[in-house]
């Protein structure tokens, strides 16, 4: 991103300048940064915990490995 000319209004050839950005840095900003303006009739996820996201996915993949225990053990 440091190569970008800040006055250049164009997009990269892929159409997504964010191609060069790592997912963790992007999520770090769009999920925990930015303003949240809530109101009465609004749906918003104001605070998403990145650790929760990754832990859940991790636990899912681990639990898939564990053999189910026999009943009545």
């Amino acid at each position: 991103m440091t190569d970008v000319d800040l006055r250049d209004p164009g997009l990269s050839e892929a159409g997504y300048p964010a191609e060069r950005v790592s997912l963790v840095d992007l999520l770090d900003r769009v999920l925990a940064g930015g303003v949240v303006v809530t109101g009465e009739i609004t749906l918003s996820i104001a605070d998403v915990d990145l650790v929760v996201i990754s832990l859940r996915a991790l636990l899912t993949s681990v639990s898939a490995l564990v053999e189910p225990q026999p009943e009545g053990d």
Binding site: M1, D8, L11, V24, D25, I41, L43, I45, L50
Partner: protein, 276 residues
Amino acid sequence: MSERYLPGGRPPGPPEEGIWSYAITESDRVSAANGAPDLSWLIGVGGAQVRAITCSGLAVLVSDVSLAEFGETALREHLEDLEWLDEVARLHHNVVETAGRLFPLLPVRLATVYSGAAALCAALADHHDELLDALRRVGGRVEWGVKAYAAAEQAEATGGPAAGKPGSGLAYLQRRRDQLAAGREARAAAVSGARAVHAGLTGKAAAAVVRPPQSAQLSKVRLPMLLNAAYLLDASDGTSFTAAVAAEATAHPELRIELTGPWPPYSFAGGDDDGR
């Protein structure tokens, strides 16, 4: 820019649609009468065109989304799907960043969905002054991100008296004690180094904020993250700030320093209603 909605109006359309918001700016910036840029070609999350909704002097860049995919229940599930998140976050960021190059704006947090223009305008009216203050504070500046990790420790010599020789157990304990002490010292040096780097860079920015460390599960970096900071800078200061970061990196070999940017000012937009 396509049609704008008056406060209190509801757009026609199926009730299963919501409004996804990207960024907030002053309404002058998107008014065609003031020579505003044409953003009608910009596609947002969910594939719909980006447009502006204007009320009380502010304008919000938005696009229509289906609540089946972006409603509250669906969102909570999707937000735990890294592939979905990857795609949606990049689409969202693309809109924010593209518009951000054209006029000053406040990025809106991902997944802020309104039931309709009326709800959006009501929310804007409630927070009008704070939003205007935040816009002025951010004023077309950009954010640079600096991360500092404790640099990888040198590989330990694993040699020692061979097992079975007298005294090898004691020698092992001594070796481990020295390793642990060296590790503690290295960590302490890295922590104070990170503090010094942050202090130095803060002095070169209009504003600075320290953020929680990133999840190693996502970043895949095994080194401890000691600093995750964002610095607010004028767009023209990129070169000098980059040089300043490089100088800090040279001065602190006990750290691995990474620089990302320029970003739209996500970290300086003002957080949520609790003022966090």
